[in-house]
């Protein structure tokens, strides 16, 4: 489903030094697999997900999703592949504040091959328990509800791979638990693989399969405490 080979990414630090954030010789995720990666803040987890998603260009290496080599594609094709195959749940939800809940989810499928399907978006929101909040704006929702919108948006396009970056970082314990259960269930229902990264042990505890990001990432930044690097997420 997902294979990563010799993937690396460096940034220039404010001191002018090149710092290698990600250096993953090999990584793979099977279809339907749900894996949680443990890593401290600044260890390069988000950069790793961004490289997989193709929203950040790698220095070297290959990312292959369902046989399509993301790193070899032109940017427009990467965008298309991301729209078709990937769902991304961000730590800060990244909902579009000026759009309604329904519109946020519709936009999650607008750039994919199926195009905007409001009926399906509505179904998805009903599935995550927000059928009664379709016309609300994100600012009118609780953090837990916003997270559910983000989950619905990531999964509405029936992706093959869902990337979740600290998805419970902004939630309290109760909502964090509910969200993780929801993400796991919905991914299983849709047959999507899930790759979650977090530093939170409680979050990681929800997953049977867990790995340390440091095990797979040989980047120099992984060996040091959270470097502050300009331009690096």
């Amino acid at each position: 489903m997902l294979t990563v080979t010799d993937l690396s990414k460096s940034f220039i630090s404010p001191d002018g030094e090149r710092v290698e954030i990600v250096n993953v010789p090999a990584f793979a995720l099977a279809a339907d697999e749900q894996l949680a990666l443990r890593g401290e803040s600044g260890s390069g987890k988000t950069t790793f997900l961004n490289l997989i998603a193709g929203i950040l260009a790698a220095d070297t290496g290959r990312v292959t999703i369902e046989g399509a080599e993301m790193t070899a594609l032109s940017e427009p094709r990467r965008d298309r592949l991301r729209a078709e195959k990937l769902g991304y749940i961000f730590q800060s939800f990244n909902l579009l504040q000026g759009y309604t809940v329904l519109e946020n989810v519709v936009l999650g499928m607008s750039f994919g091959p199926r195009g905007a399907d409001r009926a399906h978006a509505r179904e998805m929101l009903e599935r995550v328990g927000l059928g009664h909040r379709l016309d609300h704006f994100p600012g009118q929702l609780s953090s837990g509800q916003q997270q559910r919108v983000a989950v619905a948006r990531a999964l509405v396009n029936r992706p093959k791979l869902v990337l979740a970056d600290e998805p419970t970082g902004n939630l309290d314990r109760k909502h964090a638990h509910e969200s993780l259960v929801l993400i796991g269930e919905v991914c299983r229902e849709h047959g999507a693989a899930l790759l979650l990264v977090s530093h939170n042990e409680e979050t990681l505890g929800h997953f049977q399969q867990r790995r340390d990001f440091a095990e797979i990432n040989k980047g120099s930044a992984a060996l040091q405490p959270a470097p502050k690097i300009s331009g690096a997420p």
Binding site: T46, T47, N50, A53, I55, L56, E75, P76, D79, R80, R82, A83, E84, Y88, F90, Q91, S92, N94, L95, L96, Q97, G98, Y99, E103, V106, L107, G108, S110, F111, G112, A116, R153, E166, G169, G231, A232, P233
Partner: protein
């Protein structure tokens, strides 16, 4: 559906700047269309307004003043000419018809013009159209104190058939200079959309013998309106009166003399047009700056859209289309500005000259200007669109701590 949604939401999110920017575009668009339409329509209307006459004979002086006074009922008379001069030109074989007029009195600012009943019976004020009276009216008798009132003047002065009035001396209204002569309205003219609509017509003899007027000038006329048998006759009379003679002036051809006036004041509409162009440029620049400035605030939204799979060119297109949409809103509102401005200007021109401009007239500028404005706005959107195009997704989406 996606692109319209993105544009709609962005316009909604920045509603205030959208409204202000669209407003400035509306102003520019409306002003441009108005300047253009007033210029072209008034030029056409004034140069074609001859009220059926080819030339005007008057005292020695400016041809333009003669035409403005005798045809448009504006300006003061350049002086009088003897009744014998009227009779002489009337008898000239090249002249088809000659109608004398006399001015010098008003009714609350609307001119009284003395003339002969033949003006209403014989003259076509525009090809195929003679003066007509509204129901119940009749033309004044040459020897009676009766008046035929132009449609606009009757409406403004609230005069009807049978109404009585006393004229005031002079061309400007002065309540202290009322004449003692009583006149009765015998008829109201049907609207002609010419300067005749603003005039109160009375018998020539009435003006000449009005109480308080100089008895020595009792047979003089202010001007003679002339219809020629052939156009070449005008040049012959021009030679006779203007080049060989020294006492009188023949203004011929009437349309060309008014066209000269427009040439003289062409600098004015050039200035207006320049102002309108500048307003248009400022409006386009405001589209650029308002969208450009909003880009910092919208960077995250654009990065989210990119993360959802939107391509750079989609984002670029959305921003340009948004700028064009602001242009469309401005252009639509520009029509409202145009109609309001044009109606105001046309109202002033009608009340001052009797010439009617058509607010609903069609002209290519009425679509060229809005389309050009929309294109200019889209052009203004290119710079911010390029900024949007270059939005770094991963950096912009980094969690804000």
């Amino acid at each position: 559906m996606t692109l319209p949604l993105i544009i709609y939401r962005s316009l909604r999110q920045h509603a205030l700047s959208t409204i202000i920017t669209a407003g400035s575009i509306a102003l520019a668009c409306g002003l441009l269309m108005c300047v253009w339409m007033v210029k072209t329509q008034s030029q056409t209307a004034f140069t074609q307004t001859t009220t059926g006459f080819d030339a005007v004979l008057g005292a020695r002086g400016s041809k333009l003043q003669l035409v403005l006074n005798a045809i448009f009922h504006l300006e003061a008379s350049a002086g009088n000419l003897a009744y014998a001069d009227y009779e002489a030109i009337k008898r000239h074989p090249a002249v088809k018809a000659a109608i004398p007029i006399a001015v010098g009195d008003n009714l609350r600012g609307y001119r009284l013009v003395g003339t002969l009943p033949e003006l209403f019976q014989q003259v076509e004020y525009t090809p195929g159209r003679k003066f007509a009276l509204q129901t119940g009216g009749k033309i004044f008798r040459a020897d009676a104190r009766e008046a035929v009132v132009g449609a606009f003047a009757a409406e403004r002065l609230r005069l009807n058939v049978g109404s009585r009035f006393r004229p005031f001396h002079g061309l400007a209204f002065d309540p202290k200079s009322e004449h003692t002569d009583d006149y009765v309205v015998s008829g109201i003219l049907a609207q002609t959309n010419t300067p005749a609509d603003r005039v109160i017509w009375i018998p020539l003899h009435g003006i000449q013998t009005m109480s308080g007027h100089d008895p020595k000038a009792a047979t003089d006329v202010s001007a003679v309106l002339v219809q020629l048998r052939t156009p070449s006759a005008g040049f012959m009379l021009d030679l006779m009166y203007n080049k060989q003679g020294t006492r009188l002036t023949l203004a011929y051809p009437v349309g060309a003399i008014i066209a000269e006036l427009f040439n003289k004041i062409s600098w004015f509409d050039q200035v207006l047009t320049l102002v309108a162009y500048l307003v248009a440029l400022v409006a386009a620049a405001s589209v650029l700056t308002s969208i450009y400035n909003s880009m910092s605030a919208r960077g995250r939204d654009l990065a989210i859209l990119r993360a959802l799979g939107a391509q750079r060119r989609t984002i670029f297109g959305a921003v340009v289309a948004e700028a064009a949409c602001i242009g469309v809103l401005g252009a639509i509102a520009g029509y409202a500005v145009y109609f309001a401005l044009f109606a105001g200007v046309a109202g002033v021109i009608r009340s001052q000259t009797g010439v009617v401009l058509n607010v609903l007239a069609r002209h290519p500028v009425l679509w060229i200007c809005p389309v050009a404005m929309i294109a200019l706005c889209a052009l203004g959107g290119i710079v911010p669109a390029f900024k949007a195009y270059r939005t770094p997704v991963a950096e912009t989406l980094a969690p804000v701590s």
